[in-house]
C-alpha cells in the first residue's frame, strides 16, 4: 500500500487493536499515560470521521474508573493518583462522548485550581512538577467545564508572559529554552484567555516557520531532528496566529504520510520508526489543519473536533488551510 495517501482504514484498525495485548510489557510501562492514550486514539478517530469505531459506553466507564475520589480529579489509570494531564484527557473524552453529566464539575474545578502556584504556573500534581503544559491543561479544562471565571487570569497570563524568550518563543518555565510544544501550550492558553496581545506574532510566526526542514518535516527547536508530532504543535500555534501558509504545506503533508506504517497502520515520529498512538493523532491532526481531503475539521486550540468546540460556544479566532476536495 502506498504512503502517498492517508491510510484511514488501517489507522482505524490500529487504534482499535491498541490495548488488546494487555500482556505486553509496553502496555504496562505506559499505564502512566493510559487515559491520555485513550484521548489520543479517540480524537484521531474523530478527525478521520470514525469516532464510532470504539465503544462509547466502555470508554466512558474506563474514564470514570480513573476517577481519584480522594483528590477529585482523574488519574492516568485506575488506582493512579490524579494528575492534570489525565484530568484534561478525561474531560475531553467525556465532552466528545457527550457524557458531561458524569462529571462532578465543582470537585474537578477545585482540584484543578488547587494546583496553581503563587507564581501563576500550575503543578501537574502533588509531586510538584511545574510546566507551562500543565498551565494549558488547567486553562483548557476549566474552559470546557465553563469555570474559567474561577481562575485568576492576570496571574496566569503573567506567568506565560515571563516565559517569553528573546526569540519570541516560550519555554516550559521561566528561563527555559523556546520549544515548539511549549509554544503551542502558551499560545493556546493565551487564545483561550483572550490575551494573544502578549504574543509577538511576526517574530514567533517566523520562528515557527523556521522549524521546517528541507525534508519537509518540522522540528521543535533549531538544529534538532524533525518529528511528526511537531506537525501539530507548530501548525496549531501557526493557525492561532493565522500564519499556516508560512510553511510549505505540500512538503509537510508528504513527510507526515511517509511516516505511516502501510502494513499495521499507525504513524511514527519519522519514516521507518515504530508507530505509536501519540504520533498517530498528531500526524492526523496536522493533516487536518493542512486541509487534507476527507478529514474532519480540528479545533487547534483545544485539539478536539471543531464542531464540538463550536457547539459549546468556545471557538476562538484561528485559521486553518481550506479543506481540499478529494
Amino acid at each position: 500500500m502506498s504512503t502517498s495517501e492517508l491510510l484511514i482504514p488501517l489507522h482505524v484498525s490500529y487504534i482499535q487493536k491498541l490495548g488488546e495485548n494487555k500482556d505486553d510489557l509496553t502496555y504496562h510501562l505506559t499505564s502512566h499515560l493510559r487515559l491520555n492514550a485513550v484521548y489520543w486514539g479517540l480524537t484521531a478517530l474523530a478527525i478521520m470521521g470514525r469516532q464510532d469505531a470504539l465503544d462509547r459506553n466502555e470508554m466512558i466507564e474506563f474514564v470514570m474508573s480513573c476517577w481519584d475520589e480522594e483528590a477529585g480529579g482523574f488519574g492516568a489509570h485506575p488506582g493512579h493518583d490524579a494528575h492534570l494531564l489525565a484530568t484534561l484527557s478525561g474531560i475531553q473524552i467525556l465532552v466528545m462522548q457527550d457524557a458531561m453529566e458524569r462529571l462532578d464539575v465543582d470537585r474537578v474545578a477545585k482540584f484543578i485550581l488547587s494546583l496553581q502556584q503563587p507564581s501563576g504556573v500550575f503543578a501537574g500534581d502533588a509531586y510538584g512538577e511545574i510546566d507551562t503544559r500543565f498551565l494549558y491543561c488547567a486553562v483548557n479544562a476549566l474552559s470546557l467545564l465553563g469555570r474559567l471565571g474561577d481562575l485568576d487570569v492576570k496571574k496566569t497570563v503573567g506567568y506565560i508572559k515571563s516565559c517569553r524568550n528573546f526569540d519570541g518563543g516560550f519555554g516550559a518555565s521561566i528561563g527555559a529554552e523556546s520549544h515548539a510544544a511549549q509554544v503551542f501550550v502558551c499560545v493556546a492558553a493565551l487564545a483561550i484567555l483572550g490575551r494573544l496581545d502578549e504574543v509577538d506574532v511576526d517574530t514567533l510566526g517566523w520562528w515557527l516557520a523556521e522549524r521546517q526542514l528541507p525534508n519537509g518535516g518540522l522540528n521543535g527547536r533549531p538544529e534538532k531532528l524533525e518529528d511528526v508530532c511537531y506537525s501539530f504543535w507548530v501548525l496549531s500555534a501557526l493557525s492561532i496566529l493565522k500564519k499556516v501558509p508560512w510553511i510549505d504545506a505540500e512538503k509537510l503533508t508528504a513527510f507526515i504520510l511517509s511516516a505511516q506504517d502501510p502494513e499495521g497502520g499507525g504513524i511514527a515520529d519519522r519514516p521507518g520508526d515504530m508507530v505509536d498512538v501519540f504520533h498517530t493523532i498528531f500526524g492526523v491532526a496536522g493533516l487536518s489543519i493542512l486541509g487534507y481531503p476527507g478529514l474532519v475539521d480540528l479545533d487547534p486550540v483545544y485539539c478536539m473536533p471543531a464542531e464540538v468546540i463550536e457547539a459549546k460556544g468556545l471557538r476562538k479566532d484561528w485559521q486553518a488551510l481550506p479543506r481540499r476536495e478529494k
Binding site: 500482556d23 488506582g79 528573546f166 529554552e177 520562528w207 508560512w246
Partner: protein, 382 residues
Amino acid sequence: MSTSSSPEPHLFATDPAWADVTPIEQYEGSTAPLAPILYGAVYKDATDYLRAIVASNEKSPRVLELTEAVVRLNPSHYTAWQYRYETLLALKGSTPRLIAKEEDLMDELAIRCLKSYQVWHHRRLLVLLSVERKDGKLAEAEVERVKRELEFISRSFEEDSKNYHTWSYRQWVLSHFFGSSASSSVADNDEDEDTIESVWTKELAWTERMLEKDVRNNSAWHHRFFVVFERPGARVGEGEIRRELRYTKQSIALAPNNASAWNYLRGVLHRLSIPYASLQAFVTPYTVVSGDKPGSKDAAGGEEDEIIDPENPRPSPGAQLPCPAALEFLADVYEKEGEREGVLKAVEIWKSLANEHDTMRRRYWEHRIREGIEAISERKSA
C-alpha cells in the same frame, strides 16, 4: 540488587524477606493470564509489591530496595519516585549518610534515565536536603557540593547535549544557590561576592566550551543569554556588550548557516536597543554569492592581504554563501531605514529569498514583500 545482572531475576514474590507482604495486582479480577515474557513478569512483580507497600504506608529500608527495582525498570514511574523520597525523609534521621548514598546511586542511575523528568526532580529534592543553609550563608563544603552537582550535569551532557530537563535543572541550581538575592546568597562580605561572581564567570566559560563542541547547540546559546543577560545579578556594561557582539559575530563567521547564532544576535540587539544598521558592514559579506576570485582568502571574495577587522569577521573559507539569515538581516536593515529606496532594496532581497535562497518559506517572503510595498504606497497617498 540489580535484576539485570543476576542469571535468575529477583522476584519479590519468592523472596523470604517479603513473605509478610500480600502483593496487590493492577487488574483486580482480571482472568487474563500473563504471557511468560520474563521481563514483563519481573515488572509486574515489583509493581504489585509497590502497590501493597503504598497501601500499608510502610517506610522501611526494604522499601528503598523495592522502589529502586521499579524505577530501574521504568524511570517514569512517578509514584515510585515520590514514595521513595517520602521513605528517605522518614529514614534519614536514623540512618547515617543515607542521603549521601542516595546521591551516589542517583549519579549511577541518572545516565540511564536521562529523558525522565523524575530523575532530575529527585536530584533537586536531594540537593535541597543535603545543602542546608545556616543564617542564609552557604558553607564552603556546601558550595563544593553544589559545584559537584554542576559537574555531574556537565557529564550528563556528554550523553545528550540538548536534554531539555538537564538544561532547566542547571539553570535552577545556579539561580537557587548563586543568585544574588538575599535568601539564596553566599554573600555576606566582599569575599563572598567574589565567590558568586567567579561562579558566573566560570559558567560563561563553561558555556563557551559547550559551544566550541557544537556551535549549533541551541540550548547552549539560550543558556548563554541567561548567564549574560537574565541571571539574578546580571550586570551588562559596555565591555559585556562588545564581548557578546564580537563572540556572536565570530561564531557566525565560523558557521554562517546557524539559526541559533543569528537568533542570539537579534536577541542581543533587541535587548540593548542597538540598531540593526550598526551591523550592516559585518553582515554584507555574508550576502554575496560564494567568491570564485582566484587567491580569495575567504568565501566572500576578500583579498589575501586585507587587514583583518575583529569587529567584522569575514565568512570562513568554504562557507555556503549567500547565507539566507544574513540576507534576511540585511533586508531588515534596509526596511528599517524607513525610506522608499530602502524598502525597495529590501523587496529585492525578499524576492531572492522567495525564489531562490529559501523557497520553502516563499509565502512568508511574499508576505514581507506585500507589507513593504503597502507601507510605501500608504506613505505616497498620505
